[in-house]
Point group: D2
Chain length 423, copies 4
């Protein structure tokens, strides 16, 4: 056993097998991808990386798994016919999926996702980082998974990938996916606490220990699907998680300056892609493209920006001369607000640096809901929004913001003010 | 007033003038210099930068100054003839000195200090980052200090630099320097808390609030010098600071893997200097050299490493294949221990990757001591080591370690064991 | 200056004058009144007292005051004609009001408030602890306020009391009251953080530093009243405070076991009042009654319970054999839910221990709202609920619970289940 | 399983059996015994109780046990012939011993230990709280241990007591005692963190997680005894524990005002014993005396003080008019210092309130040392003091202080000053 010090979870335990995986260059690359892109331009201490987050997700996913097993042993054994070694197998899979779930992230995390190519035969669906993750796991990590000398239970890279994808499945055991990707997953559980810690803010915290203790498996009788949920006694803790996410979104993730840099870094990488590869997007996630894709990390991008190859947006980043927000709608714009925005964005089209909309952000308030069960492992359940008036009334943020170059900010702000009075 | 969120101090307040200085490219560069070099290879969350530390030092230095003024107003006014505006002037100077004290750091902080050139006419004295700091302040920031429109009190860049240098001075007011550089300075006060927080360890904390409350000015009657000290009632807090430093040193700063990467990154930068500039050191800190010097930051180094230009040590860094410690002396080696080391290092000369000694480290247990005063502003005082048996008995760490390349670690370790038995 | 260590605020500073007040027996008595009554029966570490809370309120109220002065100096000087010494005077008053606001609390804090007598000529209005606070300040502390040798500015006990009462006032300066009692007061600001800390929970935290920075004075043009509000840039921090309170309410203050002990201790004190004074209530807050009233503290009550004088409820408290909740409505009961409760409470009348309703609790979600100002000190403002969909949709908790004696809990629970199926 | 919220450890898990024990009146009494006596007179937030500490010790002892089992499974099975159920049995025993180790504390914790009677046939050995603990376990808890329906492994109360006593034992398994009482025990591990948290200080923290990970069993070859120790890689964490204790001692436990109240409360309880029982000590820990002994708790003492039955010292406590320190030696007095003290204490005999010596305190720096093992479960080991110069040079605090009544403090202080100059 090895132990890695982590400010969020104390020590993260890894075994010999996992250490082999972590030591691969493709995994070490995550040390060079900042978790929150350039948010350090606003919150200077947010320099944490996908590396520490990935360890954290593995750790929390394991805690979730262990608690479900503890809480629902009878159910798992009797209803789902799990044996001890069957559970041990799921545990290994979930740990690997947690560890590798972000392995396909482009430089500067989400900011560069806009530069992913279209999917074949599609005019609007782009690849996402999950597609790169699964491609990398299957092509680069298969030998360290399927062929590992530690692999007594014949785990496969494909199974790990199954836990990361959203496609259909006939498996009764597909509900474990929710631990990696869902309203109550280890990814979110980790990043909220971690981002909050590094930003140094008082929100983003929630009662992880109580959530762990009240995790359960829910049987939806109509569909006979299984799902991860929370026992009724923990519904306030689940509500707390949603609130934590809401607060981090409004005050950190969607901070107007942070969003400016999401745009600048995305533009800068686009320029660099063009200068280095003569393309304006990354290559699709096929085996032969992976080495080129993986070569892109924050160090490469940072080095090229320093060389002056990223043009205007590179300069802006080096000197923190970001575009300034000169106009924004309310968080939930009315029809009238949207009309006003349309008018302004039309009128000032030539002077606008870029327009940012919360909806475009990777970070959305989902339609999904957390299931709350009345009784252990029972089919009596209801969505959290039925319990919580806060969750029920949370409105997705649809704020739109207009940014202009630094040097024009005052002039254009004034012009917009004037224009608003006229219309 | 502007407020920057900081996980250590809550919010750091800056004024319009300071904002102008922070916005200069030379200062923004500090965002691209990691405070603890590659210590994230051991403590993955230690990705913090000189930028946030510099803000923190300004903040703590101000708190120290304000508390001394509060505690010693009579003394400052009557003995040192300070007026209100005289104190205001010192306060501005101390803030600027705190803010700019690290402006001359090379990439990856202390690791690259070994690559600084010799001073003129010297065969062993190298420039240090402080020399670059003062050169940069005088050449790059003079116009934002001396000529600033906010500079009502005719502050000069030279005065700021005076607070950063250790040379002789006839000024009665020279004791303020101790707030920036000394056993009890704002630099140390900030980095211990900050490094501890980001590493996620339980030590490195101490009672800053009590230190602030017991800060005082001490008049050394023999020399008639003034000095910053602590009132007797706070001596345990001062002892706590020394203990915090000791614990951070032994467990974080001098961690054997961390020290390996200090060596690797230093070697890598040396290779890069050679390939990019045909020199194996940085240029001396003269006006015409500063732009080249300042161009070196972590992004440039990282980018060049990614391009493969840093040779073996670059590869080691990218893939975390550092040299391994195969032998080390005790923390305080005896004469016999040192003899054994000499024998081994002679015998294995050709197989050794590098030798690291705690003494060579930037981080030393100093000879200096903290002064404890019996009475306020009085000349009755004694060094902390007279109060504290812990401080009195702290022994400088002189551990020596031998590292070898990853692939040979087991073989050589065995050979050394065998050799030790023979001698 | 004296400094008292506080886990929430670090050090709390008090001056010589305040120390005199704190040293009075009436103030030392607050050391013997637990802040959260018997909530340690659920959260074992919540043994904190009104003493530390009172210091905390003084401290936070001062921070709020100082920040408003910093943020709104022009407004205070020009619109409200404040001089330096006028502001200094308000500051002293606010500190004293914060310090003394809870001086009239009965034993075990809110639990015993039900035992306060009716006001003269009223059949339903009881005295509240604030009435005792003002009586005690006027009768016991006048000599340490009005006649204090430190009282250069002729502060009066009556003025301190003015800040604690809700009655009408013609004073333009009445808005300072909001710092002691209001949606955004120092009382709440302190107890949320303090109760959360001692309970060891992750909620109850909010961004006090940001609230401090965005505090402002709002001029309501219709009424020409002044009010304390928050600048628009801090509305999410204000929302965070409301959320913190909501979470503490649902999970700590209104915890079903905690509420059981509120009932038990209230009954126990009632029994003790009867046995010791032949009355079932405290005496009204008149001068001659105050000594008797002040004699009641947790030590006296605890001692009498130990002597066996508090009857059944005393025994229950000593041995933690509280009544158990056997039925409860939803947090927001529908008409049907209320009908069901009525039927059950009628049917089981003779078997019920007691009924608890959230509405009866001292802790209510108020009708008031926090004012958010568009511009500094301006008359353009809107309530927080217009900004925040969470605040807008918060529904007052009206849950009703039925408790029965420990030994009958299972039998009656079953009977109620059965009865519910029948009706 | 039940879960109790704890600010130090998150949640403390208890099972049905342990819950039965916790629910006994003798255990509930611990809620009414403050952990740090009247230290809230200095650190107002230190109102925590033996109840929460006892849960904490059980929790930490379990963590220690589990880690030793994890680290040393081979050793335990092969050298000590443990079976799975044998280990399970030790675990239950250690949990119960941790839970009940303080069950015999008198009111206000250590302060009243001076009032324990002499042991039979001894003129200087007093009973200690451990003697009461074992008597209470054997007489009051036997039926909830030996006869419990949950007791599948035939645990006995006597075995639990064995873990709490220091007497000789022939058992190879006696080393488990060190988890409850020793240099590295769960008692200390918990109280340092808990007292530090409630006091709100920055020291008293140490690296519990690393200690847990490096716990080991050491075989002392000369004696063939077993002992609990720390692997070499954790020696800095063990040193950190000793430092934490040192700092808590000097700044919290031995704070001069805190020690004054230890004396006052001890005197007050003595007065109460005399008035209530006509004896000046508690009764010896025999079966028939236990009910009377257990009747004494903080509530009883507090109630009697409030009734005025505790005389002068009771009044002093109610109004915080404690005796003041007018003289003290250095922490490590020289022979000359001791002579001076003797002279002063002779001269001022009639005017002295009381004399306090650090040596008399329950809290001593022990002779014992922590064992550090070179290899896992090996017989190569050395004491921590050989590794750590700090531990090696820690000097026991032998400070002596003279206190006088509040009203005479200035006069006597002056007289002592004068007298010192004369001698």
């Amino acid at each position: 056993m090895y132990y890695i010090r982590d400010p969020i979870h104390g020590f993260i335990e890894i075994n010999e097998w996992e250490k082999t995986i972590i030591n691969q260059p493709e995994f070490q690359r995550l040390r060079r991808i900042k978790q929150l892109s350039l948010s350090d331009m606003v919150y200077p201490a947010t320099n944490h990386t996908r590396f520490e987050h990935s360890l954290g997700v593995m750790h929390v996913a394991t805690q979730m798994f262990d608690n479900i097993v503890k809480n629902e042993m009878d159910f798992l054994k009797n209803k789902l016919n799990y044996t001890e070694s069957g559970l041990e197998r799921e545990r290994i899979l979930i740990r690997l999926a947690g560890l590798l779930h972000d392995i396909g992230h482009p430089p500067f995390s989400h900011a560069a996702e806009e530069l992913m190519p279209l999917k074949p035969d599609s005019v609007k669906d782009h690849y996402e980082h999950e597609d790169y993750s699964t491609a990398i796991i299957k092509n680069k990590f298969r030998r360290y998974i399927d062929e590992s000398k530690f692999n007594d239970l014949k785990i496969t890279a494909d199974e790990v990938c199954d836990l990361l994808t959203k496609g259909p499945t006939s498996s009764e055991r597909a509900f474990w996916r929710h631990l990696i990707s869902g309203q109550l997953d280890a990814d979110r559980a980790d990043y909220l606490l971690r981002d909050s810690y590094h930003a140094g803010v008082n929100y983003g915290r929630y009662d992880l220990k109580r959530i762990l203790r009240t995790l359960t498996v829910i049987n939806e009788p109509e569909t006979d699907n299984f799902s991860i949920g929370i026992n009724k006694s923990g519904w306030h803790a689940a509500e707390g998680l949603i609130i934590a996410r809401y607060q981090m979104f409004t005050q950190v993730y969607f901070h107007h300056t942070r969003r400016a840099y999401d745009n600048h870094i995305s533009e800068a990488i686009k320029t660099l892609l063009e200068s280095e590869t003569k393309r304006s997007t990354f290559l699709p996630p096929t085996e032969k493209n992976l080495d080129e894709y993986l070569d892109w990390d924050d160090w490469k991008v940072g080095g090229l920006i320093k060389e002056g190859k990223a043009g205007l947006h590179g300069e802006i980043i080096l000197n923190r001369q970001h575009y300034r927000r000169v106009y924004e709608t309310k968080e939930v714009p009315s029809v009238g607000d949207l009309k006003e925005f349309e008018a302004i964005s039309g009128e000032f089209k030539d002077r606008i640096g870029f327009i940012d909309t919360a909806e475009k952000s990777w970070y959305k308030v989902g339609d999904e809901d957390i299931l709350i069960s009345e009784e252990k492992s029972d089919s009596k359940y209801a969505p959290l929004s039925q319990y919580s008036s806060i969750v029920r009334n949370l409105v997705p943020n649809k704020q739109i913001r207009i940014y202009v170059p630094y040097e024009n900010r005052e002039k254009i702000k004034e012009q917009i003010e004037k224009y608003r009075e006229e219309i």
